[in-house]
Every structure is written in structure tokens, then in C-alpha cells.
Symmetry: C2
Subunit: 302 residues, 2 copies
């Protein structure tokens, strides 16, 4: 339990990444369209509420690892903000009554509770578009910009995140095997986490072999994140978790814990952690932040 708090250097890095990305999103959502103030307020509520900003952190950490010491984090701000907008949109829509019907997220009422269902649907829709607008408006050179856009659309659309959510919804009250659960999570949360690492790596100038390695790292920590989520869903308090404890179990959704038991899930988590570190070991440069991120993901308490 003493390992739960990330080391200070990682904490400082996470705080800095969060501040950078929040500032960028805040700027984007200033000056709402007249008479659409509520829409913009809901977008800000969803994208700027408390959160780990894991995807932005991955962008900065990967870019830094590949680029080296003189790396300017400002080059990553827009990519990080775009990923957080996609993530925020997916949470707003996932929480809707017709989907997971959650009323609590990150310790606060979910968007459709704080506003209303129609506004939450529209805020999610607009946050998705905002992600692509952000990337388009950035002053990245065109070929890299198009690559980043391709990574983001592929990870978030009908062959990525949304497919994962569709499969997840369909799995309620079904008996899934481990072999069926894993592809769902690889799409639902893994795809965007992979895209975050890959987009960061692209910004840092990674070559195609390095891009493949960082994908293995990100796939492992993406799945580890989900396994730890399932463990926390059973073992942590609602207060610590910031969402309703046991929510997935209540929905009768298959989880790593329901399939493997808590101890089996913890073993799985350690295996994924090792996979992530093994991938990093083959990379040149300073990957200490990426190692610390992997440690944090398997040790986090919420």
C-alpha cells in the first residue's frame, strides 16, 4: 500500500502535464457562441473536471523519451488536448442513462445529471469535433498533422473505441471468456491509450520500429489500467474511487475479477506490468518517466 503514491518526480510531471492540457482546453472553449453558453459550460465541465490526464501524460512522456533532453512540451499541448477531448466525450456518452447510466464520475455528478441529457449528448458530440479542430488548427507541419489525425480517428471510431463500447454494452448479462474480454478492452480503452503513446512518439520523432515498441508498451499499460480498474471496482470505497463502487458488478458486466478472481487479476496485472517494462528496455534514451507511469498505473488507488 505504501507504493500507491507515485514518486515525486512523476507527480510533478503529471501535475505539469495536467496544467498544460487544461490551459489549452480552457483557451479553446472560451467565448461561447451567443445563446449556446450552456453547451460550452457542459463541454468545460466534462473536459476540465478532475481527472488523471493519463492520455496527455503519455503524449508528453513519449515525446520526451524519443526527442531527448531539449524537448519543448509546448509542441505536444494540442495533441494532448485533443486526446483529452476525445476521452471526455466518451465518458459523457458512456455515462448516459441509455448506456452505463452512471450518476457519479470523478467524485462529481456526471454531465447529464449536472446539466441535462440533451446537453450531455451535444457536449459529447462537440467535444469529439473539437479534438479534430484542435489538431487541424495546430502549426504542425502538414504530413505530421495528417498522421496525428489518422491515429486519432482510427483509435476513436467504429474500428476503435466506439466498437469497444458497443461490444461492452452487448456483453451485459453474458458470459464472456478471457479471450473475448481482452479484445473488447483493447478497443474500448486500449485504442486511445495506444494512440496517445503513438502520437507522442510521432511528435518526438520516433522511427517505425520504435513506434511498434511503444505500441507494445501502451497496449500492456492500457490493459493493465483496465485490470486495475476492475480490481478497484471491487476493493475500493466509492469515496476514494470517485464513482460508485461495484458499479460494473451491479451491471453484471464480465470483469477480470469475475473471470480470474482478485488474486488472479492481480497476477494478470503484474504480467502486463512486466510486458510494459520489457518493451521499454529495448528502447534507447531516457524512459524513466514511462517506467514510472507503468508503475503508477498498476499501483494507483483510484
Amino acid at each position: 500500500m505504501s507504493n500507491r503514491t507515485p514518486p515525486v518526480t512523476l507527480q510533478a510531471f503529471l501535475r505539469d502535464a495536467a496544467t498544460r492540457v487544461e490551459t489549452r482546453i480552457q483557451e479553446t472553449l472560451e467565448q461561447p457562441v451567443p445563446n449556446a453558453e450552456k453547451l460550452f459550460e457542459a463541454m468545460r465541465y466534462a473536459a476540465l473536471g478532475p481527472g488523471k490526464r493519463l492520455r496527455p501524460a503519455l503524449v508528453y512522456a513519449c515525446a520526451k523519451a524519443f526527442h531527448g533532453g531539449d524537448f519543448d512540451p509546448a509542441k505536444c499541448d494540442v495533441t494532448a488536448a485533443a486526446l483529452e477531448c476525445i476521452h471526455a466525450y466518451s465518458l459523457v456518452h458512456d455515462d448516459l442513462p441509455a448506456m452505463d447510466d452512471d450518476d457519479l464520475r470523478r467524485g462529481r455528478p456526471t454531465c447529464h445529471i449536472a446539466f441535462d441529457e440533451a446537453t450531455a449528448i451535444l457536449a459529447g458530440d462537440a467535444l469529439q469535433t473539437q479534438a479534430f479542430e484542435l489538431l487541424l488548427a495546430d502549426n504542425t507541419e502538414p504530413a505530421l498533422k495528417l498522421q496525428l489525425l489518422q491515429e486519432l480517428t482510427a483509435a476513436s471510431g467504429s474500428r476503435g473505441m466506439v466498437a469497444g463500447q458497443a461490444i461492452d454494452l452487448d456483453s451485459v448479462n453474458k458470459t464472456l471468456t478471457l479471450e473475448q474480454l481482452e479484445p473488447m478492452h483493447r478497443l474500448k480503452t486500449g485504442a486511445l491509450i495506444c494512440a496517445s503513446a503513438r502520437m507522442g512518439a510521432l511528435l518526438g520523432g520516433a522511427d517505425s520500429v520504435q513506434l511498434q515498441t511503444i505500441t507494445h508498451y501502451a497496449q500492456a499499460i492500457g490493459l493493465a489500467f483496465q485490470v486495475q480498474d476492475d480490481i478497484l471496482d471491487i476493493t475500493a470505497d466509492t469515496e476514494v474511487l470517485g464513482k460508485n463502487q461495484g458499479a460494473d458488478a451491479l451491471l453484471n458486466k464480465p470483469t477480470y475479477v469475475s473471470l480470474l478472481g482478485v488474486n488472479g487479476a492481480r497476477e494478470k496485472l503484474q504480467g502486463l506490468h512486466k510486458q510494459a517494462l520489457d518493451a521499454l528496455a529495448t528502447l534507447p534514451g531516457d524512459t524513466s518517466l514511462l517506467q514510472a507511469l507503468a508503475d503508477y498505473i498498476v499501483q494507483r488507488s483510484h
Copy 2:
């Protein structure tokens, strides 16, 4: 009434545009992700159901007008498909119970009735991403591709279509003036219609002055489309209309008819028609298709 059917040349053109865009969308949505077949079926249902394909038609017609005789429509297929995906996503979400709560669209059950609400939300989400994926995967040269993406995101996001829908939802049971109704429609439906014309013009090689002129044309027909919608909502049968007659009046939404009366709305429609034709008159090249489209929009019966 005898004017209601578009002239044969326009009919053939509209049919060809519809076939082209439907083929392109069909190709994109083939081979669903395993276990996400329902999501893909809902996406196809929403994007390939009966429809006027007005936005695709505008793309082809504008590109042809600016490019001239030897124009290859294949160059427009992806842009047309992307616009139709955005349009389809907006209809699926607008029809949801928390939004306009419509159960009939284009003569068929709406997406959330034919499938379920969660699937409809996800299909809409994925159709939005699909639009950007389509444009990204096209073999347009990078600078033009980025311009097209910028047009589409700006028209569809929180400063375009979604803002319009947010203002529209907020206007239920409110007394709006004509000066408040118009900006809402310019965003809700006008922005995407303008983008269709502008993206077609860009594909046809229009210069910046011509782009401005085609914007004026598109703004006029976009608003005319809405005015005619309001007139038809009051005067046409549900059967002809393909959606519930009087639906907007029932929701107590302000319309051009409620503000101007049927005759006043018809006068407004004629004024917008003239504005559209006046804009075309200043353009070089063969704008006969664009004229016929403007005629069709003010004369259509559904």
C-alpha cells in the same frame, strides 16, 4: 403544384450523386469489427436510408460548376460521403428521446426505435468519426485535404451545427424573434449546407472570391430549405413528408410559419430563392445545375 417535381436533368443528376455517395459509404461500412455487427448495421441504417442527399449533390454540382466540363465526379465521392455521414449522425442524435424524441424519419422508424438508444448514440458517434476518417484516407493532396477537414470540423462542431442544435433545444416554449431564429438555423442546418458548397467549390478549384459568392448562394438555399421545411411541417401530410406532420408545432418550437404565417413564410422563401440566383448570376461557367437545385429546394414537397 406542377413545379414540384425537379426537371429531368436535375433528377438524373440527383440520382447519380445519391448512387455515388451511397456506394462510397457502403464500401466504408463493410466488414464490421467482430461482435460489433449491430453498431455497423445501425450506422448503415442511418447513413444509407432514404434521403435527398442534398449535401452530396451540392458538392458535385459546385465542383462541376467551377471545374468545368471535363470534371471527374469520382474526385468528390469521399467529400460527399463525409458530409452525408455528418448529416446522418446529426439526425440520429437529434431524433433521440432526450432531444426531439422523433420515432419516424424519412418514412422509417428512427435509429433508436429500429435498434436501441445506446446503439443509436454510438452509431451517431461513430458516423461523426467516420466522416473525418473518410477525408483523411482520400488521396487528395495534403493542403487541400487539410482545407476540406477544416471546413467540415468548423461547420459541424460547437461553433457550427451542434451550437445550432443547442440553441434550438433551448428555444422550445420560448418566444423567439425572426432575428433570433435566423442565426439558429444558419448554425443548425446552414453551416453544413454551406460547407458542402464550399468543399465542392474547393474541389473544383474555386478562388477566394468565388468561394465567397458560393457561400452567399449556399446560405440562401440553406435558409430557404428550412423555411420550406417549416411550411411543409404545417401543410403536408405525414405520409408525403416521411416524418410526423406538425411535429415542430407540437413541440412548440418557433418556426418561420409561426412568426410570419404561411404566406409570409412563402414570401421569405421567394426572397431567399432570388438571393441564391443573384449570387449565381455573378459567377462564370455553367451554373445551371446550381440554379436547378435552388429551384428544387423552394419547390420540393417533402
